[in-house]
Symmetry: D2
Subunit: 377 residues, 4 copies
């Protein structure tokens, strides 16, 4: 086809640089570990049977291994031991955001990198979870429990096992999403770690509400969402197609569990992906996600969204429920205790966009109309 | 597969008979016309260019014919002249709900049937719209402008013209939806006219909030929704698959017109169809709809939904925006004047289900939990 | 959108009347039974366990009931007892093509209709299969075992049971397809029975190769395919969407049973549906089918396809394997013995279209090119 | 879900190392350029108007720029100037397989790498095509015209422009496929260039028929297919979902151009992707492709397929047409003259698998059955 330029006006805008943080984390002089991708999350759950039922019987993740304290789960196209660990514990929280690195030597780099930043670092030759070997866990400068590993047990990649697929099959882990008070500070640190920004949300004053960052060439391996933190906003799994996500909703309805659908399904503005947000029995948020775009070129264009653009979070302008902005999971330190929260001091995205004090627009310059028929959440 | 009965408990319940109306419309002694299907709606629009742009450029309906006062539109699989007429007029309203009948003689039956009911009846050998021949229009006992016709111009059925399909192609007109104060009264009259109920919404006291009725073997050709009436709630077009409906939403986002999405997309409980509600430039509501089920057997099971079941209107429990309950289009009498409204005196579905005065449940007997994370519309 | 007429030239042509048969079956003076739809097929299978495994474990049809001699299966949206009966027997064949009729009285009409035609008729108040009551079976004038029934046990319609859906879920029985030597003769009889032609395949001389006929408003409840008969060509089940059919193929691959895929998936020219043909363990052919179009209007346009149009059987011009033309299942008389076959004397569709003696074109008038890159089956 | 190991037996087998080549290309001592991805192909076409019509009007690629000699096309999610150049010329052929590299300095590395291998190398600061800057083209050791570039003009990424999407929208360039006589020799050279094998086809004697290799983490950026070469087998573009590929077939049918469908649609065994092969007006082969899997981990498991496994090329066992094995496009040297072909001396995949001299199985050990009902191509 041939396109008439500028009709309609571009839906996205060229990336505005995220402002430098006012209180930056120093740049480590050490070479960072070469992160390949987000690989698994370790979730602490308070009722292992209920969580197992949710992730195994409802969401159809595959059990690689389990015992009375933990269930190790993977997606259909995965060949490493797990993408999710459910571990029984007294407080619902996240014990690790785990990244795969390129070589065994990257573990040495991880130790150096974080040691130089003054972080607590722990290395275990036998790993922190079953199926994973030599691993490094740190309490990172933002307070998150990050893990780096290379050694891992290979298991059958079930990609061709269509006899096992279900209508809502989850095929890959896609990304993490973290809540942190100062997004520019987090971004600068993550860039030092080798991540690159693909999209972000700002306002005209440069206040940054969220940023998406990647190693693998998708929109993200993790995102930083502005809010009281450190907390875990969600972990996301990918499906092949959009109808798979709809099938998950339909199944939840049939099971009379539609109340675990928090938001969606919908189309994101940011990432251009089709999405759904669920809440597990502990309230941990899980996103189901499909069809973002390739970002692997070195000069991949960054997209900056205006915080007041009502299509940034949902391309169809459907409302974001307040709980999605305010609720998130605790994260643990390396002793297993919840990290205390630091309050966000920058503006809150929820407050500047919805309710009596905020505003959003469908068409820039057309703010007077309110943003949505009937959407006065 | 083999099913273990009763696990989970049935999601729908056997039809409860809709109570007899307290103020019934008498049964006409005449044989009713044999209605084949809902065939087209004539909409009066206040800005013909804006409406044409919405239905032709955005929704990709096919122009069969047009002049300065009217646009005649059809869907991709249609072979009759039109499924929608946009006619320029001073007040946004519906001029006709038009049904195809089986034979030319059914027009005589329509005249007799409505004459005996004391309704105003007008017959025009040349039809009321282009492309349609001998037709009968009536002001029916509920105040709606109903049309019956057999003669119609055939046009190319574009079903095989995949060079013309767009991602959100509308392939059939599916149904009408009418607002009327007394649903049992409307149902009894429609049954006299030959329609059959497929699903309905009631409460434990038998108050009936809505009923779906069909001639063709889908869930409906029209539905009666309780509210101040006569008004037109929506007209619905079908797509082939669910992704076509998502494509319409995506296109509206790209055009910065997402604010015409009123509700959805979602899965209905009633009808089991995948849906989306849009509002056209005059506020007329259009549903996009796909995948209900075959209802053509004489003993097709009626499904009755509990008005408090939060999955009846949206199977995923997503909230229904208040405008969807309260707003609807005026309908015209045969002189082209808006019909006055009669107020519903039975309970309002919106009031008994949402907000401070209503309640809904996800699981019967589990009402205490509220109905949805964050869905406090 | 607006269409420029005639660009490209119409893909289908107006229906050419099917020639009158030279050896017609007399028209019964009795009123025919009012057939609602094709409802179930009774298949005789030689290895019940193998057939059960195919239909239940591979195709995921739902077991309503079973014993050591028979399995009663239904589709996800069905509410009557079964759509398919697998009955153990010595010779793979079809014991009944069963149609639902509108009223109990239609059984009397069936008896009269066929008695007057000189056919063998048997009526059983308790039915011929479990779950079905008062029924009439006949050896019809073409030699097929037709059944008519009204009384039937209702079972749970699983339409909303998304916890039970599988990726390739079959949701409805759609149609039968019968092989008979003289298509015009068969059509005339079926029209007497109340069926209407929707599409057919002819050549310029009027030789008729196949015809599709309906009662419910889809393209067909049964089709007549020219060939030695009476035989059963296939029974078809519908899915919701095209990806469901692809999922069945993918599963067959995973099970290392791809050799039961005989033809497809593809898009039909005739019917415009997306299709797949499988062969069960006895060689009975099953079609999986989705997305034909509404045909319920009394003047629904008939489409006649040129037998030499290479897109009539597969819209993408993919080759039809010879077995699809030549192989079909025996049918039984009311004593359970296979009906002898009568040879077709008209031209064979296979011979006039493929191989050294036939020809097909992609574009009319462009016959010289052969019909398909590499498709020299 | 929980999986019972080994039921059915694994559909794929662990990678067998591809044998070392008997006549290896020496390993360059220079550091290879860091290739990011396959980025565009330059095709020489003999009738520019006909080719433009095919790629722009039928396949809906986006025209970035054009003049009387060339058309520059991109896919919907692309942000670089083009993914395909159609250039008018006397002989249909491929002028360049172009790869994006990570930095401008990688061009120096490309020059060194190929100079040391004794290849002809040409560098142009202004690029070889519009929209691309400093570039290196080489006649590589296998005879292919490879290009490496970093500098490129950015254009609008149309990912969010759903007003422009068509039912068969191509969203990314996915890979190249090259025909070369000695696959192990080609693989060794490509590994030296930094590519990694993801899947391959071998027989029990180690004869290697094809290998897939990647830089970006999909199954491939290019594949090496055994045959007389150097030739170009195909260039592939990705869609979002499977129905998009079906829509392309449907459109070709509507345009009466189904004879450009050479093979498919189908599911590949190798890559697990859904595919379609078309032939453009010059016979250049284009694949449409969707849904392979992530391969970015350093120890991504290699999958080796048995050449006799009838599901390796089509997971559903559908036959591969002979033209797909035998026909391919010429490639040009840097003067624009077609490269002479070297004959493959190893066994031909076609001859060992189909026809009188070959065999394939659906189930290993079950060879006697032939491989497919009716598939005697």
């Amino acid at each position: 086809m041939t396109i008439t330029p500028g009709t309609p006006e571009p839906v996205t805008t060229a990336g505005d640089p995220i402002p430098a943080p006012t209180d930056p984390i120093p740049t480590s002089k050490a070479t960072p570990p070469d992160v390949v991708r987000c690989a698994y999350m370790e979730l602490v759950v308070t009722d292992l049977a209920a969580s197992r039922e949710f992730y195994v019987d409802v969401l159809d993740l595959v059990v690689t291994e389990e015992d009375e304290n933990a269930v190790y789960l993977r997606s259909m196209e995965e060949f490493i031991h797990h993408n999710l660990v459910l571990r029984k514990g007294p407080v619902a929280a996240v014990a690790a955001f785990a990244y795969r690195v390129r070589t065994p030597e990257d573990l040495d780099r991880a130790v150096e990198f974080y040691t130089e930043l003054g972080c607590r670092v722990e290395r275990r030759a036998q790993g922190f979870t079953k199926g994973v070997g030599d691993s490094v866990r740190v309490e990172d400068p933002l307070g998150f429990p990050y893990e780096f590993f290379y050694e891992v047990e290979h298991v059958e990649r079930l990609a061709w096992r269509y006899d096992l697929y279900t209508p809502g099959a989850l095929v890959r882990i896609d990304h993490f999403n973290q809540v942190t008070p100062d997004v520019p500070r987090a971004v600068k640190y993550m860039e030092d770690l080798g991540f690159r920004v693909t999209e972000d949300i700002q306002d005209e004053a440069g206040t940054t509400y969220a940023a998406w960052m990647r190693r693998k060439p998708t929109v993200h391996d993790t995102a930083m969402t502005g809010g009281d933190g450190p907390r875990m906003h969600h972990v996301a799994f990918a499906t092949h197609e959009k109808h798979n996500i709809i099938a998950i909703c339909d199944k939840l309805g049939a099971l009379r569990r539609s109340d675990c659908i928090e938001r969606g399904p919908g189309r994101h503005g940011v990432s251009n992906a089709f999405y759904l947000y669920l809440r597990d029995p502990d309230g941990h948020r899980v996103e189901i996600y499909t069809q973002d775009y390739y970002t692997g070129d070195p000069d991949n264009p960054v997209v900056t969204w205006d915080v007041h653009d009502n299509q940034r979070r949902d391309w169809w302008g459907n409302p974001v429920v307040p709980s999605w902005y305010t609720e998130a999971s605790l994260v643990l330190d390396l002793d297993g205790n919840p990290q205390p929260l630091t309050t966000r001091t920058d503006d809150s995205e929820m407050e500047v966009t919805i309710g009596a004090d905020g505003f959003s627009y469908t068409r820039k310059g057309d703010e007077a109309q309110g943003f949505k028929l009937g959407a006065q959440v």
